[in-house]
Symmetry: C2
Subunit: 240 residues, 2 copies
DNA sequence: AAGTGGTCTAGACCACTAG
DNA sequence: TAGTGGTCTAGACCACTTC
């Protein structure tokens, strides 16, 4: 038998991912929820605690508990780990190079857990920091999950992409799985990042996951690490 | 005023970092501890919970709560994120190339928060996976923290270095701060990793921290990512 | 003053481990 | 059977926000 607080947690997730409580909205008070589920308030709090730890909910003392919104600055940097030499993080300026619809290849289908040759949307973005191109993102999205997605919707608010996924398509990115390697740039990548051909790049292959570890986005990034680096903290709470 | 459970947590940390309970040993039962601190058992549990989350303690139902030992396999991989192409992780074979005493340069002193020109120990290790050299570690340690450290002690159990820090010098590595870049190898690095000069490497600059975020080790790694990658999971509990 | 989340208590009962 | 951690309850009181 599953513990009660796990069942309550699962039930809360249903309500959130089902759109019953929208991002930015407050969920009912702890007393109400506990009464509704027929559990003690301590048990309800334990379920909420775990969702707060997973960044799905945020508590605001004296006000209520809210569904997180991904456009908040600290949500933004939760998944953006590129920092400049002095450790400062900055919002990148995003420029969309291309936006088109295609079919998934075998590797992509495997990564995204979709059928081979499933329809996908491909977006290529150049991200600039301090006015210089530093990062090239190649994003692949399963088309069925993003109905009616247009380039315009993407570019108009592209610096908070996960917020777009959440507000327009009800998709909460909770976790990402990243693999990093050092590579030599291809010609087109070098051109877009305006670098010499002999300069190595950091390649990040990221799969973004939502509830139940379902993949929703594949993103391959190439980073010019001349003046920037990828920052990672292991062993405790989130990086600041 | 600090919450009670925070005070209890701080007190527990004192007992652990002070060597009162040694790694691998069980701490007193929750009932005993609660009585000793004069708090409710729920409050004591909350303090213990946070230390379990920080990987300082582990609970074993029916047996007791133990101070973490860093030689456990899952502790090993907590800070070793290099995996092969298929995602499998493997214990590296370690070969010590050099071991010598020196003085810290300015950058190292800043990273380790020690006086300029402080005595340090420098170790250079080559780590092999599947019989091939994949990783070159350049480790810098503040000598005063590691009295009597010899090459022999290091090499004899070098595949669990943090366990050595813990068992011999009472230093618990709790957190690491890593910065990743793509670089071209210097001649000596290329030679030790047996790679061509034109092949890019992943550079990892890691500072290891103990209680109160005190730095205890600086490690610069160079990784041949031809058949391996650096694996990172963001947004939830520890990677498996 | 009313409503919210945050802390703390005291105790019951369950699940697991060991002798 | 005894001892440990794991779950769950019911309620008191505090701190913060809003009206």
């Amino acid at each position: 038998m599953q513990p009660l607080y796990e069942q309550v947690r699962a039930s809360l997730i249903e309500s959130i991912s089902g759109g019953q409580w929208r991002p930015g909205e407050a969920i009912p008070s702890e007393a109400e929820l506990a009464a509704g589920f027929g559990v003690a308030i301590g048990t309800l709090r334990r379920a909420v605690d775990s969702l707060v730890a997973d960044q799905v909910l945020v508590r605001r003392q004296g006000k209520g508990t809210y569904v997180v919104q991904h456009d908040a600055p600290r949500q933004m940097f939760h998944f953006f780990h590129v920092a400049s030499r002095d450790g400062a993080r900055e919002h990148p300026a995003v420029h969309t190079v291309s936006f088109r619809r295609d079919r998934a290849d075998a590797a992509e289908a495997a990564s995204l857990d979709i059928a081979p040759a499933e329809k996908v949307v491909r977006i290529r973005n150049v991200l600039s920091l301090q006015g210089r191109p530093v990062l090239l993102d190649d994003i692949t999205l399963p088309a069925p999950l993003f109905p009616g997605l247009t380039e315009k919707a993407f570019t108009s608010r592209a610096n908070t992409i996960y917020q777009l996924y959440q507000s327009r398509f009800g998709i909460n990115v909770l976790r990402t799985d990243e693999r990093l390697r050092a590579v030599m740039p291809s010609a087109d990548v070098a051109a877009l990042l305006q670098i010499a051909a002999g300069k190595p790049l950091l390649e990040i292959r990221r799969v973004a996951l939502t509830f139940r570890d379902r993949p929703v986005e594949l993103r391959v990034s190439h980073v010019d690490t001349t003046d920037h680096h990828y920052h990672n903290t292991l062993g405790k709470g989130m990086p600041a």
